[in-house]
C-alpha cells in the first residue's frame, strides 16, 4: 500500500508545522500556486508505521550478509552516525564564518592528512560526492594538466575491459575517446595490448587495483612506466582500496590521481544507494588543479582554500563542500581504528576472501583465476553449470536471497567479497547455503531458476517495468 492510499482529506500533524497560516504576502497573484501538490495527508503514527514497515522489506548490513563484490559492504559503526549527528554539527550553516566552525574544520583537515598518508598522495580534496564524481574530477584534472602544457592532441583514455562501467562513462563525459584493452587468462591486463594502445593520443589510463576481477595487477609498475613514457597520466580507481589498505599505497604504484570511496573502505553507510563520498588525491604534478574547497591550517586556524588561493583549480563540483556529514563519519571511523586498524582491514578482508574462495572451491564451484590469490574478492564462474543445467549466475543469486543472503555482484559470473567485519560462522553459513543450492541445481533446478520463493515478492518483471512505464502514482488509477 502506498503512503498516498493512507491519506484522508484534511488529516494533519499539528505539532510539526507552524500553528498558523499567515496571510501576509507580497507575492503577485500570477506567480502563486493554484492547486495543492499531491502530498499525503497522514498522521504521524501512520507515517512512522508505513516507513518502518517499508524498511523491514529491505535487506541491509544490519540484518544480512552482503557478499557483494567491489562494493565492500562492511559494518557501519553506530558511533560514526551518532557522533556525526551531534546537534551543533547538524545546525552549522555551510556559509557561516570559518571561526564558527573550527571544530568541524579540524576534523576535515585531519581527515585530509590521514587520507594522504594511507594513499601516498601529495594532497587531497574532500569535495567529491561519489565515486563517479571522483572519476570526473580526476579525468578533468588530467585534461587540465595536458592543456596547461599546450599538449592538446591527447584525445584517448585507456581502460581495461573489466573496469566498472563508470570508468568509460566518465571518460566520455570528459570528452575523451575510450580505448578498451583486454585482460589475459591470468586476470592481468594484457601488456602487449597496452603497449599497442599507448601513443601520442594517450591522455591517461584508468585502473582499479586490485582489479574488478579480484586480483592484484602484478605488473602495475611496468604499466605506469609505459603510460608515463607515452606522456599519459595514471588514474587509480579506489573501489578496491580496502584490499590493500596499509599494505601498498597507490602513490607508490605510480598513480598520479586517485579517488577513494569512503562508503566502501571507510565504512560510511550505503544508505540504499547514497550519499557516497569519494575524496580525490593527487601527486605533485596535479596539485594546482585540485578542486576546491580544501581545508588549510595556518597559524593555528583552519580555513577554506578558494579560487583566490588556487587559481588553476578545475573549480567547484558542489554548492558547498561535498557530503560533509559523510566525511565526518569517515573521520570518526579512522580515528576509532587508528593506524594499527588500517592494516587489519586489508588483512582480514583478504583472509575472509581467500577462505571463502577455498571453501567454495572444495564444494566444486569453478574459480575464475584458480592460480591466483583472491584480493578481497574473487570470481566464481557459472559457465559449466549454465551449459549443463541452464542455471545462471542470476538464478543462483536470487536463490541466495531465499536463504537469507544478499546476492553477490552478478555479471555472467559471481563476484564475491566478504568484508573483514564478517565472522567465520557467517562465512560458514554462506558456504552451507551455496552447497544447498548446488545440490538443488542437480536435483531440482527449476526451484533455483524460478527463485526467489521466500521473499515478499516473486521475481520482479523488469521488462514490464521498462515497457509499461509507471514512474509516478496517479490517484485516478
Amino acid at each position: 500500500m502506498l503512503i498516498f492510499e493512507h491519506s484522508r482529506k484534511n488529516r494533519r500533524n499539528y505539532s510539526q508545522a507552524p500553528a498558523t497560516r499567515p496571510a501576509k504576502s507580497n507575492i503577485p497573484d500570477n506567480l502563486k500556486r493554484k492547486s495543492a501538490p499531491l502530498l499525503p495527508e497522514v498522521s504521524e503514527m501512520d507515517t512512522v508505521r508505513h516507513y518502518t514497515r517499508l524498511s523491514q522489506k529491505n535487506f541491509s548490513i544490519d540484518t544480512e550478509f552482503y557478499p557483494l563484490g567491489s562494493c565492500t559492504m562492511k559494518y557501519n559503526p553506530r558511533a560514526c552516525n551518532s557522533l556525526a549527528m551531534l546537534p551543533q554539527f547538524l545546525a552549522h550553516h555551510p556559509l557561516a564564518p570559518e571561526d564558527t566552525g573550527q571544530g568541524f574544520l579540524a576534523c576535515m583537515y585531519e581527515l585530509q592528512e590521514i587520507l594522504k598518508d594511507v594513499t601516498g598522495m601529495s594532497a587531497v580534496s574532500l569535495t567529491s560526492m561519489a565515486g563517479a564524481q571522483g572519476e570526473l574530477i580526476g579525468i578533468t584534472m588530467i585534461r587540465a594538466y595536458h592543456d596547461a602544457r599546450g599538449d592538446t592532441e591527447r584525445t584517448e583514455i585507456i581502460i581495461p575491459d573489466a573496469a566498472h562501467g563508470t570508468n568509460p562513462a566518465t571518460a566520455t563525459m570528459c570528452g575523451y575517446k575510450v580505448i578498451e584493452i583486454p585482460t589475459n587468462r591470468e586476470g592481468d591486463v594484457d601488456m602487449d595490448a597496452l603497449k599497442a594502445a599507448v601513443g601520442p593520443k594517450t591522455a591517461g589510463l584508468m585502473l582499479t587495483n586490485p582489479s574488478t576481477l579480484g586480483v592484484f595487477e602484478k605488473k602495475v609498475a611496468e604499466m605506469s612506466q609505459i603510460v608515463h613514457e607515452a606522456g599519459g597520466l595514471l588514474y587509480y580507481d579506489g573501489a578496491n582500496l580496502n584490499a590493500v589498505l596499509g599494505k601498498v599505497k597507490p602513490g607508490d604504484m605510480g598513480f598520479d590521481v586517485i579517488h577513494m570511496n569512503l562508503h566502501k573502505t571507510f565504512s560510511t553507510p550505503h544508505g540504499g544507494g547514497g550519499p557516497g563520498a569519494a575524496p580525490v588525491g593527487v601527486a605533485d604534478c596535479l596539485l594546482p588543479y585540485l578542486p576546491i574547497p580544501i581545508v588549510a591550517h595556518e597559524q593555528g586556524v583552519y580555513r577554506w582554500l578558494t579560487e583566490k588561493d588556487r587559481p588553476q583549480s578545475i573549480g567547484r563540483l558542489s554548492a558547498h563542500m561535498g557530503n560533509a556529514g559523510v566525511l565526518l563519519r569517515a573521520y570518526i571511523y579512522v580515528r576509532l581504528l587508528g593506524a594499527e586498524g588500517m592494516f587489519r582491514i586489508a588483512e582480514y578482508a583478504t583472509l575472509n576472501a581467500n577462505y571463502l574462495m577455498a571453501e567454495l572451491r572444495k564444494l566444486g564451484f569453478e574459480i575464475a583465476y584458480p592460480t591466483r590469490r583472491a584480493s578481497h574478492e574473487f570470481i566464481v564462474t557459472m559457465k559449466e553449470i549454465k551449459d549443463r543445467t541452464g542455471v545462471t549466475a542470476m538464478h543462483l543469486a536470487k536463490r541466495l536471497l531465499d536463504k537469507g543472503f544478499h546476492a553477490p555482484t552478478v555479471y555472467l559470473c559471481l563476484l564475491i567479497e566478504p568484508a573483514e567485519t564478517e565472522s567465520k560462522e557467517t562465512l560458514d553459513r554462506f558456504v552451507a547455503a551455496m552447497k544447498e543450492i548446488l545440490d538443488e541445481i542437480e536435483t531440482q533446478p527449476e526451484t533455483v531458476k524460478t527463485a526467489p520463493h521466500a521473499m515478499p515478492l516473486k521475481k520482479i518483471d523488469d521488462v514490464k517495468a521498462a515497457r509499461e512505464l509507471d514512474l509516478v502514482w496517479n490517484p485516478a488509477g
Binding site: N13, Q16, A17, N26, P28, P37, L39, V42, R53, L54, Q56, K57, D62, T63, C71, M73, N76, M85, Q88, H93, P94, L95, G103, F104, E113, V118, M129, A132, T140, G165, T172, M173, V248, M253, P269, G272, G273, P275, A277, L317, S318, A319, H320, M321, G325, G338, Y348, L351, A358, K398, A407, K424, L457, K458, K459, I460, D470, L471, V472, W473
Partner: protein, 451 residues
C-alpha cells in the same frame, strides 16, 4: 580489534583451509618493492568513549548561533520522526536496490518520492535524486544539449546561485558546451528582460530560470519560459522545493510549462550540516524521460502479478551502456531522499504550505522593520520569497562581525560574488524564527549601525 570478530582459533582454521602459513602470505602477489606498511600521520586508535569525548568537544567549540543565512541552504524545523526512521539500519545500511526483491522498501519509498516531486514541480516524471542542486543543474544543462541536438550553448542568468554557475562550468566545459550569462536588472533584481533581447537571434539549447532567484527575488517565469520556447530552446527551472508549496510550479510556467525542473532538496528535512550531504532533485516532461540521468524507479508486478517496484530504464545508465551512458552517475543520495520523503509525508500539503508561508511572512516582516532603520534600504524592488537583499550605509562586514559577537549570523555579503553590490546583505528568516528573534535582529542591527 575494532569491528573484526576473528578469534585466534578462527584465523588458524581459516589459514589451514586456505593452505597458507600466515595472513602475510596472502599478500605474496604484491611485488615486494611496492609494499609499504608505514603510516606516519595516522594516529593510534581510540575507544568509542575517547572519540565521543573528542567529538563532543569539537561540537561544543562550534556551538549554536541564531542563523539568518540562507543563500542555498535553509534552516527548517525537521520533525523528530524523520531521522529516527531514516537512520533505522534497514535504510541506513542497505545497498543500492539492484536486487529488487530484497529492496522493496527503498524502491517503494523512491516511487513515492518521485510522485511527490513530480507533483510539487508540476512535471510528469522525476528521477530518484542526484548529488545536489548545483550538480543537478549541470546535469540538466547536459540533458538539454542532448535533446536540442543543434546548439551547445546554455543561457544562465546572473541571478542563478553563483556557485551553481561555477559548478555548471566545471562539469560542462569538458564537452565543449558554452555557458553564456544574462545580466540582471539592478532596480528589480530580476533577469533583465531588455538585456535578454540581445540574445534573441542566437541559438541556445536552454535558458535557465531560477525561482526564487539567488537574491530571493521572484522572476517573471511565464515570460521567460515563453521566451525560451519561442526560440526553440528548452526552459530549465531551478526552484526551491519549499517555495513550491506557494509558488506556481514549473510545469505551469508560460504556455507550455518548463521542460526540466531541478533544485536543491535540502530544505525538505535535511539538516544544514556544513553543506552536505544534501540531494539534488530533477523532474521533467514525459518526452525527456529517456534523456534523464540517474536512477529511476518504476512500478511493475512480480511473476505472479503482485505489485512491486524496480529500477527501470537502466539502458540509460553506465553499468549497462558504459561509454554511451547519459551520464557517469552511479550513486544517488538515497538516504537523503528517504528523509525528504518522510518529511513531506509528515507535513502534507497544508504543513508544507505553512512552512513556506511562515518563512515568507517572517522575511517580509523582518525586511519591513529593517528598512525602517536609518541607513538600510532594500537593494531590489522585485517581490521576494524568504530572502531579501538589504543595502547598508556602513561597511557590512563589520556589521556582521558585531552581530556574530552576540551570537547572531546576520546573513551573507553579496559583494563576494557581485562586486557592484557593495555593503549588501542577503538575509533569510525561515519559519524557525520567532517574533522575538526578529526583534533581536532589528535591535542588534540598529546598534551596529549607530555605534
Amino acid at each position: 580489534m575494532p569491528f573484526i570478530p576473528h578469534t585466534e582459533d578462527d584465523v588458524a582454521e581459516m589459514l589451514a583451509s586456505i593452505g597458507a602459513a600466515s595472513i602475510d602470505e596472502l599478500f605474496d602477489e604484491i611485488p615486494a618493492e611496492l609494499k609499504n606498511g608505514k603510516l606516519t600521520r595516522v594516529p593510534t586508535g581510540m575507544s568509542e568513549m575517547e572519540i565521543a569525548r573528542l567529538m563532543y568537544e569539537r561540537a561544543q567549540q562550534d556551538g549554536f548561533y541564531l542563523n539568518f543565512i540562507g543563500a542555498g541552504a535553509y534552516e527548517h524545523h525537521i520533525p523528530a520522526a524523520v531521522w529516527q526512521i531514516t537512520t533505522r539500519g534497514e535504510f541506513y545500511s542497505s545497498y543500492t536496490p539492484y536486487q529488487a526483491e530484497a529492496s522493496q522498501g527503498t524502491l517503494q519509498l523512491l516511487y513515492e518520492y518521485q510522485t511527490m516531486m513530480a507533483s510539487l514541480t508540476g512535471m510528469d516524471v522525476s528521477n530518484a535524486s542526484l548529488y545536489d542542486g548545483a550538480s543537478a543543474l549541470a546535469e540538466a544543462a547536459l540533458m538539454a544539449v542532448r535533446q536540442h541536438k543543434s546548439s551547445r550553448r546554455i543561457l544562465i542568468p546572473q541571478t542563478v546561485h553563483p556557485v551553481y554557475r561555477k559548478v555548471v562550468r566545471t562539469i560542462v566545459k569538458n564537452q565543449k558546451i558554452e555557458v553564456v550569462e544574462v545580466p540582471y536588472d539592478p532596480a528589480t533584481g530580476q533577469v533583465a528582460a531588455d538585456k535578454l533581447e540581445q540574445f534573441a537571434r542566437e541559438e541556445f539549447a536552454a535558458l535557465v530560470i531560477p525561482q526564487p532567484n539567488f537574491f530571493g527575488v521572484l522572476e517573471q517565469v511565464d515570460m521567460l519560459t515563453d521566451w525560451a520556447h519561442d526560440k526553440q530552446s528548452l526552459a530549465i527551472a531551478v526552484v526551491n522545493p519549499t517555495a513550491l508549496a506557494m509558488l506556481k510550479p514549473p510545469g505551469e510556467w508560460g504556455h507550455q510549462g518548463a521542460d526540466i525542473a531541478v533544485g536543491e532538496g535540502q530544505p525538505l528535512g535535511i539538516p544544514l550540516s556544513s553543506g552536505g550531504p544534501y540531494f539534488g532533485f530533477m523532474a521533467c516532461k514525459q518526452e525527456l524521460v529517456r534523456q534523464m540521468p540517474g536512477r529511476i524507479i518504476g512500478r511493475t508486478t512480480d511473476l505472479e502479478g503482485k505489485e512491486g517496484f524496480a529500477l527501470t530504464l537502466q539502458a540509460r545508465e553506465q553499468h549497462i551502456r558504459r561509454s554511451k551512458a547519459t551520464s557517469n552517475i552511479c550513486t544517488n543520495q538515497g538516504l537523503m531522499v528517504t528523509a525528504a520523503t518522510i518529511y513531506m509525508a509528515l507535513l502534507g500539503p497544508e504543513g508544507l504550505y505553512r512552512v513556506a508561508a511562515q518563512s515568507h511572512a517572517n522575511t517580509l516582516t523582518l525586511a519591513e522593520r529593517l528598512e525602517n532603520l536609518s541607513g538600510v534600504k532594500r537593494a531590489f524592488q522585485g517581490p521576494f520569497f524568504h530572502e531579501v537583499a538589504l543595502q547598508l550605509s556602513v561597511p557590512a562586514d563589520k556589521v556582521l562581525n558585531k552581530l556574530k559577537a552576540q551570537g547572531v549570523l546576520g546573513g551573507v555579503l553579496l559583494e563576494q560574488d557581485y562586486p557592484e553590490l557593495k555593503n549588501t546583505l542577503l538575509i533569510c528568516a525561515t519559519e524557525t524564527k520567532t517574533t522575538a528573534d526578529l526583534d533581536k535582529y532589528t535591535e542588534m542591527l540598529q546598534q551596529a549601525l549607530t555605534t
